[in-house]
Amino acid sequence: MKISYNWLKDYVDFKKTPTQLAEDLSLFGQEVESIKKLDDDTILDLEITPNRGDCLSILGMAREISALYNIPLKQSSFSELSRIEESAKIDKKIEVKVSGPEICPRFSARIIDNIKINPSPDWLKKRLQSYGFRSINNVVDVTNFVMVATGQPLHAFDYNKIKDGNFTIRLSKKDEEVITLDSVNRKLCEGIIIIEDDEKIYDLAGIMGGFKSEVDEKTSTIVLTAAIFDPILIRRASKFLNHTTDSSYRYERGVDYEGNLYGLNLAAQLIKELIPDAKASELIDQKNQPFKEQNISYDPVKINRLLGTKLTSEEIAANLIRLNFRIKDSTARVPSYRLFDVKIWQDLAEEVARIYGYNNLDKNNLDKQVAPRNKEFSGTEKIKDELAVLGFTETLSYSFIDKNKLEILNLKASKQPQIEKSLLSEIEYLRPNLLSSLLSVITKNPWAPEVKIFEMEAVFEKDTEKWQLGIATTGKSDDLLKSALKKLNINSMIKNVDQKILDYFKIRRPVKHIIVDIDNIELPTGDYSLKISRTKYKPISKFPPTVRDLAFLVDVNVSSVELIDKITRTDEHILLVELFDEFSSNKFGPNKKNVAFHIWLQDLKNVLSENKVTDIIAKIIVMMNSQYRAKLRSK
């Protein structure tokens, strides 16, 4: 929510810059996501958590600032306004009927005559702009202004468009319809709060006004209304209609019953300022449900025990009082605007901690202690280590699969758990086994000289879920997979992938795989490795790499790890260097070994030209020659 720094100052006088304010608010629990200058003002964009509907207004945030800095609100800006000046006698009236008190606990209104619809003055447009509202006309703008200022959503109806001033508030029946202000005809389900007269439904209460009661340039009398509606009904309606407004957003989170009249009267007063001839009627205030005060008893000992503090009862009370709680004998009366989120003593503890300052709390770490061992976890992690030692790379793939892939793999979509209302076709079903994932990885790496991968993840069918190990290699040889089977003591078949499937996945070489459920593997014992790679990620290019092989004869004692490092540093276009062969033989001469590398080259801005590749390879050969007396072996 966008909050204007200048607008806040109308409600509370604090001496902090926008940046300081933002920092302090974030530490107080009101996260400021961005700060932007707007002419002579600064706009703070806040992330308000769903439990703090009371913060969805300037007044609400001013209260937070008041508690944070221990500065009182400006009295002149916040007063009851229970009697606005000169409420006139108007011979127009409305009749408010509510089908159930819990639907609309409070409904207040003023009828205002002599309305002249005009553009708004600049100061009002500016305030609206700071929040993100467009200016519409003086009356609508006042209602939006007051909603943002006070948190009370308001709506102005054209009095003459309503038959007999009839405000019947009830729940909709299935398939009833209403045309809203945006000219959309909305079909309702049952249970949505609507307002009607005996001719038509003219308001989607709490969400959006109706087209048929809309204020327009000819409107001469309005009914200015401020209501409290049931949060759950508003939320359900908003979800059903797939329509959220600034108004419904506030209702869902709870609007302050006791703040209702302030909002209404502030709006009436502003309209009178903008339209001097306007006459506002007496206050109509229908309390369908009384205000229910909430008191929470607390035990200072328990609060200290929860927070890890040593606060006295007085200190705890003082902290709560700063937030407008009224304290009497370890019982806190919750301010009316906090009813929706402060319900138990632990909520009070959080408020105490906020004022105390979370960062003033001590740090008392737990002692070291031996943990019971999860043999399954250790065993599966050890399998990963054993495969890595054999030269496999662990991949992780999404758990989803689409219908086409299921078909090509000869699997039934009907057996697979299916996602409701998915936005993407790739995200429709959960995968039944790891084959499609492994193949997708191979598709992605056509330039890799060989692909040796494994995945260990969950797979799904109907309502079962199990862990599976999938291992795959490209190329004609079985050997590596055979060594995997042997090392892990797995009794499973090596399978070849059908040409038809390879074609679908655009894979142009043979693929062999092993897929086995974890339950069918005897888990190895022992600890898994805690080594973490020390490399910093080198960004990979949008363009495909070029891979060249180089083989050298070097002294037996030269470390291949060192060679990899040295070669990589030869040129910035070298992304990776992989050792794929290393062996000594007398035919190389005494104390010599053969080392062979895949050199992966890339350019971040383009595909590398053949010339450039040749140059880099030459550089490597020169370096190897001069530093290691390495002889290039031609393939």
Binding site: F28, P50, R235, R236, R305, L306, L307, G308, T309, I344, Q346, D347, E350, A353, Y358, N359, L361, D362, K363, N364, N365, L366, K368, A371, R373, E376, K384, D385, A388, L390, G391, T393, E394, T395, L396, S399, P417, I419, E420, L423, K444, N445, A448, V451, K452, E457, E465, L530, K531, I532, S533, T535, K536, Y537, K538, I540, P545, L575, L576, F580
Partner: protein, 228 residues
């Protein structure tokens, strides 16, 4: 000629090590969850805006792809009839119904932790998590905490670390176990107090390795995987 473990796996192990050294058992749970364990048991009722915080993948059969490994907490306690004191961590894959881009993914990994004991309090929680950050990022890293809403804890908080450029990066969500959640675990909130926290591993891993795109972990791109 060694192969490679996914950098995520490497990080998961390192993160778990810190908690294992403090007595936390490693527990795993299912990726498809019931609405009860993923939401209701954790004080996230239907018809409440808190449900909006997490965009969820719902299955046609009414189950849910778990949005956090916190879902396993109540399940594990219930299925094993655990009685306090106990502590465990839950690593695992989670899902959020979000459009993917450089910093957003629909698939990610979390570690969730819980410790229930007689006199655990917020200073223990802050100490534990501050120590965790120092283990991962070095003893000189500065941390700070801020109040935040998570329906299953009260008080709730976020923990940030300070980056080299001075800005703060959010790393963990945490708090004191909410009494409703304790009751759903069959635990008396009058006697026992719990600390709970959760951390997305992907973000931490990206921070450590200077990876700029969260999708790389699941891309299967060997140019990425072979670097680690």
């Amino acid at each position: 000629m060694n192969g490679h473990l996914n950098p995520l796996t490497q990080f998961l192990r390192l993160s778990l090590k810190y908690f294992s050294e403090r007595g936390f058992e490693i527990v795993e749970g299912p990726e498809i969850e019931t609405e009860w364990f993923n939401f209701d048991a954790l004080n996230v009722p239907a018809d409440h805006p808190s449900r909006d915080i997490q965009d969820t993948f719902w299955l046609k059969d009414g189950r849910v792809l778990r949005t956090h490994t916190t879902a396993t907490d109540v399940r594990h306690i219930q299925e094993n009839k655990l009685k306090p004191p106990f502590k465990f961590v839950v690593p695992g894959r989670c899902f959020r119904n979000e459009a993917t881009d450089q910093t957003h993914e629909h698939t990610f990994y979390q570690i969730d932790g819980i410790d229930i004991d007689k006199d655990l309090n917020m200073t223990n929680l802050i100490g534990l998590l501050d120590g965790y950050m120092k283990e991962l990022f070095g003893a000189n890293v500065k941390t700070r905490v801020r109040p935040h809403l998570y329906p299953f804890v009260e008080p709730g908080m976020d923990l940030d670390i300070q980056l080299p450029d001075g800005s703060w990066r959010e790393m963990l969500g945490s708090g004191m176990a909410h009494p409703i959640v304790l009751k759903n675990m069959g635990i008396d909130p009058g006697k026992w107090q719990g600390i709970m926290w959760g951390m997305g591993i992907d973000r931490y891993m990206m921070q450590y390795f200077k990876i700029d795109d969260i999708r790389l972990t699941y891309s299967g791109d060997l140019r990425f995987l072979k670097q680690f």
